[in-house]
Assembly symmetry: C2
Homo-oligomer: 94 residues x 2
């Protein structure tokens, strides 16, 4: 269906995200899914991507692209802060 | 000099790593530097890469390649565990 599905990684249980990624490919026929995270959740995004690809979707889905970046925003106290971001795009193996 | 300098990210103060990356390019004439991390240090590796490239080496060094992966090893209790890894290669802008 839609070709640019994004999943944002946060505090929910780990396997919720893995299941979400797997289901997008398995039942919703996605061709690519982008896993996005900021700050401390970046490590988690890599874990989720690895578990989804290597344990559940082995041989059918792999990492197609990885981008890192930064975002500037104001925190609650009005102070400028910078946070790193990651976008991991998973796609069907042809 | 050597073309495959690797810097492993751990518990040392944040700026130690940033300085190390910057010095490799600035004084040791490296053409590429690979920032490597595992597990929870992955987020930190992205932060270090972003600060080094965007604040200290802006316009001269950029991200050339990013790889993610997993390693299996036995922990202290002899249990098999899996940890995610990242390798961020920074290189001189031509």
């Amino acid at each position: 269906m839609a070709d640019d599905i994004s999943i944002y990684i946060g505090e929910k249980p780990f396997m919720n995200y893995v299941t979400d990624v797997v289901m997008q490919f398995a039942t919703k026929k996605a061709t690519t899914v982008t896993i996005k995270a900021r700050g401390k959740f970046i490590s988690r995004a890599v874990d989720i991507s690895e578990v989804a690809c290597k344990r559940f979707l082995e041989g059918t889905v792999c990492v197609k692209d990885i981008k890192i970046g930064s975002e500037d925003f104001k925190n609650k106290e009005g102070k400028d802060v910078r946070v790193s971001t990651i976008e991991i795009t998973l796609g069907k193996v042809n």
